[in-house]
Symmetry: C2
Subunit: 231 residues, 2 copies
């Protein structure tokens, strides 16, 4: 059993909390039993897996974790990236909150057959908060990294109010739903390249915008329902 | 200008970070210009408002804030609660993450005319994280507190897979969408009292469930679209 904080595996785990180190090594962490189970289900090979009280003293594992006490297992994995594609997928730009990136990965997994494609300015999907928010969908459906010019098919730019209501569009697969940063919305580059501009109908007396993860979820649901109805 | 951490207003602000103190006093905080602006727009009377560098030394304000450096203004307000009602509203139970509670308040404001009704086991909607996630919708549309027996109209229990797809229901207003804790789902009490059980259609190969705030947002959108189409 590991009894020293100087252990090499614990050092690796502590370093992988940092984005810089994840980028350099191409590795990342899954903290907690649910995520480690999800990694196994998706056949991610464990580079290291430490179980508190078995492989390592519980307190040492907790101190290496971003979750603190209560973390019973941590796994180290090699990052996987998908290619853009699928009948329905999502492209995001400037989504800097890792919780939102993880939540969008989870909702995309629920409604679409394609991945989340990360454009510039997004939080690292392999950071601990994003991994946690994805609830295992990160393993089942790894994200893609690509610029706008790599995307093909019907690009739908989601705007706050411009264009038509999303569920009134005729959507010709493959469809890529494009969302931008929460405050700024989609970029001019996306608007120029988009085949369609659409919005999610909201009450006039409501807020100016939705949280970007909520907007992505609603858009995915609406597009998936529309595409299923159109066959 | 306030130059001491012992100042009474700063003490109040620090105490209001705690749920216990908010419950005892019925007060809460808005941190940051956007939220203080939202409070003004919604005519919430400021009990205290402190601007860093004007009313108080910037560092002292930052140290009283849950946000740390960068907080330029903090306001103290009296909590307001709505009554259940509206053509469309949401009832949640066991939603213990304050970010989710705040996000559901924001999405409900976007799609429904009624409030979020908080049943047992929910995070305090007036806690700093929930206030921030609500992005001002907390002020525009304060939540309600009520048990199941206070709800009237068509109660739709959202389940993971049971019942019919939500957008295939005929929804007779007033409609209350009922959601439960993320892991457990809606309670037996909700299922027994519900007029309808419905689910959000997802891919079979997808995750077991959606994040509860995503599920609420999609359900609100789907119900609002359906009710608008039915007139």
């Amino acid at each position: 059993m590991i009894t020293s904080a100087d252990n090499q595996h614990l050092k690796t785990i502590r370093k992988l909390r940092e984005k810089r180190w994840r980028a350099r090594t191409g590795m990342f962490l899954a903290e907690g039993e649910d995520l480690v189970d999800a990694a196994r289900t998706a056949s991610f090979e464990e580079e290291v897996v430490l179980v508190g009280g078995v492989d390592v003293e519980g307190e040492l594992l907790a101190s290496a974790s971003t979750l603190g006490s209560g973390t019973r297992v941590i796994g180290v994995y090699r990052q996987r990236w998908s290619q853009p594609g699928g009948r329905l997928s999502v492209y995001i730009e400037g989504v800097s909150d890792p919780g939102n990136v993880g939540a969008i990965i989870r909702s995309t997994h629920a409604f679409a057959d394609g991945p989340v494609v990360l454009g510039p300015g997004c939080a690292d999907p392999f950071g601990p908060k994003a991994v946690r928010a994805s609830m295992g969908s990160l393993f089942a459906r790894p994200p893609a990294r690509a610029g706008l010019n790599r995307l093909t098919g019907t690009l739908v730019a989601l705007d706050r109010a411009a264009g038509r209501p999303l569920d009134e569009l005729e959507l010709q697969a493959p469809v890529v739903l494009c969302l931008g940063a929460e405050r700024e919305g989609v970029s001019v580059a996306v608007l120029e390249r988009a085949s369609e501009v659409a919005h999610i109908p909201m009450r006039a007396a409501g807020p100016e915008s939705l949280n970007v993860a909520m907007a992505a979820s609603v858009a995915l649901y609406a597009a998936a329902r529309r595409m299923a109805a159109d066959g």
